[in-house]
Amino acid sequence: MDWIGYLSEALPGAGENVLMMAAIVIPVMIVLEVARDLKILDWIAQRMSPLMRFFRLSPQAAFPLLVGIIFGIAYGAGVLIEEARSGRLSWQDIFLINIFLSVCHAVVEDTALFMAVGANGLVILLGRFIAAILITYLISRTAWLQRENLRHGVPGAVKAAGGTGDNRC
């Protein structure tokens, strides 16, 4: 075993790697903080209604979805839990956001890190988005989802079924 050869390859290599990651991660995090404080995502979320309809999501689902895509699941889940508690999201919204985010989350950080080790950023970013859009769309159209959503209760449906006379929706 060539110990000298090993150490002279492994030590500088590992150090170089960490420095490279720092050079990428620190600017990315600063940009993300700026985007958050400028409330750029709120602005985009308000303009995403047509896209939300495509996934059979309510317009309120846009913000948690965007947060998860850009910042990562941990942040997305935080917003998701808040929104779910406030009752503005249906079970279907939460389920579909989960599906989308499981495939496509924290895209800025992940893409930058893999580009640093030599991956094609456009391919990995598009690949994730295409996979997530395709899967979420397909699942949003299944009869199973409609059944489950009814079982978990659609907001408003309870009221309608309660015989308040307001059955027009």
Partner: protein, 139 residues
Amino acid sequence: MLTVATFSKGFQRGLTTTWNLAKVIVPVYMIVTFLKYTPVMGIVAGFFEPLMHFFGLPGEASLVLVLGKLLNIYAALGAISSLELTGREITIIATMLLLSHSLPVESAVSGRTGVNAMLMTGFRLAISVISGLVLNLVL
């Protein structure tokens, strides 16, 4: 509102993430480089060569995939940089890993949100494999 706090918060988060990365990347890099100096790498690579061939990847890449699927992306990054892989190979591995990684942990999380964890894991592995096959054909 943008303030100095915005930038220092970002810088701090960057440092924390780098530290978390380093804690994983350094040991993985050291171990994978060590394996390259032993016959183990050759044996593992030879064993997975036929399977990796479908994704246009060399046998060594199986190590990166396993690390990413079982541990996390950071471990996979450490392994990628210690192996000599081409840009095309790295792009394929990156896509396969980004679609599904840290499966034990993330499945447990999705399990808690009420989604069937086994179903979700199987499903993410499937799209990962499909993406590898497709990219090998189109790239």
